[in-house]
């Protein structure tokens, strides 16, 4: 992975007007207008403003986004984040305090079906032992791990997603 040079930062006073595409993480502290297409993560920091059609793998919004966001993995609006537009992503996380206006499309939602077991936590350091122990909110997930051979893994309740979400928020306040 090109993590060493895979970091593009758009500084606070910078305005980019046009099409932007790439295969690395992009951090926006300034303004970007037009279209953004990345095969990796877009991070809009609190000072950042993105007024664009966005197609990325992951999107973390702590600033302002106006436009539609399509992510192949996840979209997260943090508590400082503001967004107007439609989101299409298999995972959408909107935390308390975030502001959002638009539609959300997480793809096929089959209410009756069990949730796919292979839905690992987001690609972030998942091990946060202190918090995990303080907040044992994911018993279902643990059962699953203990019995992976079960033909029909018990559908993790929605609490799973919420648990991950809460943990993230707490960590950010640290």
């Amino acid at each position: 992975m090109a993590t060493a040079n895979g970091s593009t930062i758009i500084g606070e006073s910078i305005l980019i007007n046009g099409n932007l595409q790439g295969d690395e993480d992009l951090t926006v502290r300034g303004r970007v207008e037009g279209t953004v297409r990345l095969s990796r993560t877009l991070v809009v920091e609190p000072s950042g403003v993105v007024r664009a059609e966005v197609q990325v793998r992951n999107c973390i919004i702590a600033g302002a986004v106006i436009g539609n966001v399509t992510a192949t993995e996840s979209v997260e609006i943090t508590k400082e984040g503001r967004m107007v537009g439609d989101i299409a992503a298999p995972r959408v996380i909107i935390v308390d305090g975030a502001s959002f206006k638009g539609r959300v499309d997480m793809g096929e939602v089959d209410v009756g079906a069990e949730r796919p077991a292979a839905r690992p936590a987001l690609q972030r350091p998942a091990a946060r032992p202190a918090l995990a122990s303080a907040r044992p909110a994911r018993p279902a997930a643990k059962e699953e791990a203990a019995a992976p051979a079960a033909p029909k893994p018990p559908a993790p309740p929605p609490a799973m997603g919420m648990g991950a979400l809460k943990r993230r928020v707490v960590v950010k306040r640290k």
Binding site: A2, N5, G6, S7, T8, I9, I10, G11, E12, S13, I14, L15, I16, N17, G18, N19, L20, Q21, G22, D23, E24, L26, R29, G30, G34, E45, P46, S47, K172, R173, K174
Partner: protein, 124 residues
């Protein structure tokens, strides 16, 4: 709390980096230094310095204070202070700046005009 303060980098003097896989087709403007490792087409207008690193490719007109080119630039460069063409750069286009440095090994094709700004510009 520390996490919240993270974006508070040197303000104004903050640095923007366009990474090597990034392609921008459009206009970039701003008041801070810009480092380009990727590709930019269109126009670049800055009030500070532009660094085109060796992997950087610019097909654009450039207006800045300083420009330092180690990569490829196709387009006209207008700087209010200085343009520096490093040893392995390739530049095609006209350069207009009071100070222009071309290092040994640089490849350059175009006009040079150092007669700008400070003195009344004579029609060359």
């Amino acid at each position: 709390m520390a996490a919240m303060d993270k974006p508070a980098l040197p303000k104004g003097g903050g640095q923007t980096v366009i990474g090597s896989t990034i392609v921008i087709d459009g206009e970039i403007s701003g008041d801070e230094d810009l480092v380009i490792q990727g590709t930019v087409k269109g126009k670049v207008a800055l009030k500070e310095s532009l660094f085109v690193e060796s992997s950087g490719v610019i097909e654009a007109d450039i207006e800045t204070a300083n420009v330092e080119v180690s990569g490829h630039v196709t387009g006209n460069i207008a700087a209010t202070e200085k343009v520096e063409l490093k040893a392995d750069c390739k530049v095609v286009g006209d350069i207009r700046a009071p100070r222009i440095l071309i290092a040994d090994g640089a490849v350059f094709k175009g006009n040079v005009d150092m007669d700008v700004g400070e003195r009344a510009p004579k029609g060359k």
